[in-house]
């Protein structure tokens, strides 16, 4: 009897916990939902009470989205395109070259390789402010100041984490497979692309996700390097439209812009959720 009672109690406790957690979840989502509801309101309604839902007087349909996307001398949609270009190119460069370098470091393991590896680890603990001024000057001199060339800087600055994670994994790959490939007549390049790269896939995914999230959201580096009249990424554009000197945008359109910046991230998250959550523990070493 007593046991049955305690089981019932346990059940009731779990139900209560589910309800409490569900309420917290709704509260957790409120900021995003508030922004979403404001994307359909006119600017004065946004200003007077952002928590009021749109009604027949304040509803403006998709006007805010249209204004948000196209207003200004540098429209938001261009920033989105540049953001995609920078992120895709950077992630591709980092994944390809860092995995190659990491395999080389793990296998050759010479004095030079060790120095390089420890420099990479070291670079992870250096805050960006340390190289802020000098890096922007170097980028200007070497013409790394366009969306097509800035990935080179991301490759250099992102190498630390990528090399660190790839080396850790490459060392665990059994060497016999590679030796078999080389006995079968594969040179290092073919061994890498046909044998090593496919085995690195899980790490490629984790590193890829970490680097994509970093580059996609990065503000300081592109804002220092890119010519903001010609090129911007999303964070730069949001920052510039909010700081007065470039003309304040109407609040409703601003809400639409913020919401549109979040949507791709949520979609990306829902698609890759499994890998992202797995990658968190793997990337937890980056400070």
């Amino acid at each position: 009897m007593g046991k049955q009672k305690s089981i019932q109690q346990e059940k009731a406790r779990k139900t209560i916990m589910s309800v409490v957690l569900a309420i917290i979840c709704v509260i957790y989502m409120l900021p995003i939902l508030t922004i979403f509801s404001n994307t359909f309101k006119n600017a004065s309604a946004v200003k007077s009470d952002i928590f009021a839902l749109p009604n027949s007087e304040t509803f403006v349909g998709f006007d805010n989205y249209v204004t948000g996307m196209t207003a200004g001398s540098f429209p938001f949609w261009k920033a989105v395109i540049f953001n995609v270009i920078i992120t895709v190119l950077s992630a591709a460069l980092i994944l390809l070259f860092c995995s190659m370098a990491a395999w080389y470091v793990a296998r050759v393991n010479s004095f030079f390789c060790k120095i390089f590896y420890y420099l990479c680890v070291f670079s992870m603990v250096v805050p960006f402010q340390m190289v802020q001024f000098t890096l922007s000057k170097t980028a200007d001199t070497l013409k790394l100041n366009t969306p097509w060339t800035i990935p080179v800087i991301y490759l250099g600055f992102g190498a630390g984490l990528a090399i660190f994670m790839f080396v850790g994994f490459a060392k665990s790959i059994p060497i016999e497979i590679e030796e078999a490939a080389s006995i079968d007549g594969c040179g290092p390049v073919r061994t890498y692309f046909l044998v090593v790269l496919p085995m690195l896939k899980p790490t490629l995914i984790s590193v890829g996700i970490l680097e994509i999230m970093w580059v996609w959201n990065d503000y300081l580096l592109p804002s220092l390097v890119l010519d903001l009249a010609k090129y911007r990424n999303i964070p730069m554009h949001i920052q510039l439209t909010n700081t007065g000197s470039y003309g304040q945008m109407n609040l409703g359109a601003m809400m639409a812009m913020i919401f549109l910046s979040i949507v791709p991230i949520i979609i990306f998250y829902l698609i890759c959720q499994k890998y992202i959550i797995k990658g968190v523990a793997a990337g937890a070493v980056k400070g």
Binding site: K14, T15, S18, Y28, I32, T34, I35, D49, I50, M100, A101, Y104, R107, V108, F116, L119, S123, V125, V126, P127, F128, Q129, M130, V131, Q132, F133, K137, T138, V152, I153, Y154, L155, A159, I175, E179, S182, I183, G187, P188, R190, Y192, N217, Y219, L220, P235, I238, Q239, N242, L251, M254, I258, I262, I265, Y269, I276, I277, A281, A284, V285, G287
Partner: protein, 304 residues
């Protein structure tokens, strides 16, 4: 390339190098070093080594516009950096912020992780929701929350920039929203690794729920606690985007954190050298935390 591999594979077979490839593959790999390690190495020098070395040098230089017209002047910048009241204020503001955020984030993240590992219905959905804000970038987060805070504070006829306290707690709330989910994931992994029979044994021995939590579970998730503490600490110290977007340091540079203080210093020629010296100090501070973190997580990796 195939030819070279085969021809070099014949003679040396007796001596196997420690850890790495047999020497034949190793030697043929070295022939390709320009391809394997060259591009990353070049980018690493351009993107990190060279700017880092220049940064150290410039911290000892007087006024400069470009790197070539800088003149060496010794420790003046460092003395000025320590005399700068805004830098001192930023340091204490950042330190206080980091401590408060470390405590709150870890408490809430652990509580959430504990709740979600009790077999409650919908745990996966809750986990998805709690983690989600983590992926939104600092600038977007800052403006998102500044609109929300201003919406709330406008009821009381004020705004987020009116008082430094508003900015401080605003940043704390923002950071909680962003990072609790992330730390929660690490804690969940830690909690799931606690052996089930250990908890069972404690129960049979008559331990209460809280006794089990403090005497069995928490000692077993200590590695996760260490990781999360260091992560939140360094994140708190390095915070920049959120600070810039939410308050921009206002009112009167009172909510300016270290990274923003340094960053602002670079904009004027007069303070550029001082900013670079501050950056070196900042780097030493963050690197000390970071190295301590790497050392403490290294132990955990060995066990895995």
């Amino acid at each position: 390339m195939d030819k070279s591999t085969i021809s070099s594979s014949k003679p040396k077979k007796s001596k196997k190098p420690k850890g790495g490839h047999s020497s034949m593959t190793r030697r043929s790999m070295r022939r390709w070093s320009w391809l394997f390690i060259g591009p990353v190495f070049a980018a690493f020098i351009i993107g990190f080594i060279w700017p880092f070395a220049q940064g150290i040098y410039l911290s000892f230089c007087g006024k400069f516009n470009t790197i070539s017209n800088a003149k060496f002047q010794g420790f003046t910048n460092y003395i000025k950096a320590f005399q700068d009241a805004t830098f001192g204020h930023a340091f204490w503001f950042t330190a206080l912020f980091a401590i408060v955020s470390v405590i709150l984030i870890n408490l809430l993240a652990f509580a959430a992780a504990y709740a979600l590992t009790q077999g409650v219905k919908g745990s996966n959905l809750f986990r998805t929701v709690f983690f989600m804000p983590n992926l939104i970038g600092g600038i977007v987060l800052g403006y998102l929350w500044s609109m929300i805070f201003d919406g709330i504070l406008s009821i009381y006829k004020t705004n987020i920039l009116a008082k430094a306290e508003y900015g401080f707690w605003g940043l704390i709330i923002l950071l909680l929203w962003q990072q609790v989910g992330y730390m929660m994931i690490i804690y969940i992994a830690g909690l799931q690794a606690v052996p089930e029979d250990m908890i069972e044994a404690a129960k049979i021995d008559g331990a209460t729920k809280s006794q089990t939590l403090f005497r069995v579970i928490i000692p077993n998730v200590m590695p996760s606690i260490t990781i999360c503490t260091f992560l939140t600490l360094t994140n708190g110290f390095k915070l920049y985007d959120q600070n810039l977007a939410l308050t921009g340091g206002q009112p009167f540079r009172q909510t300016e954190m270290l990274a923003l203080n340094i960053s602002n210093g670079y904009s004027a020629v007069n303070t550029r050298g001082i900013a670079q010296a501050k950056a070196v100090i900042f780097f030493i501070l963050v690197a000390t935390l970071g190295i301590a973190q790497l050392v403490s997580t290294r132990n955990k990796e060995v066990q895995q």
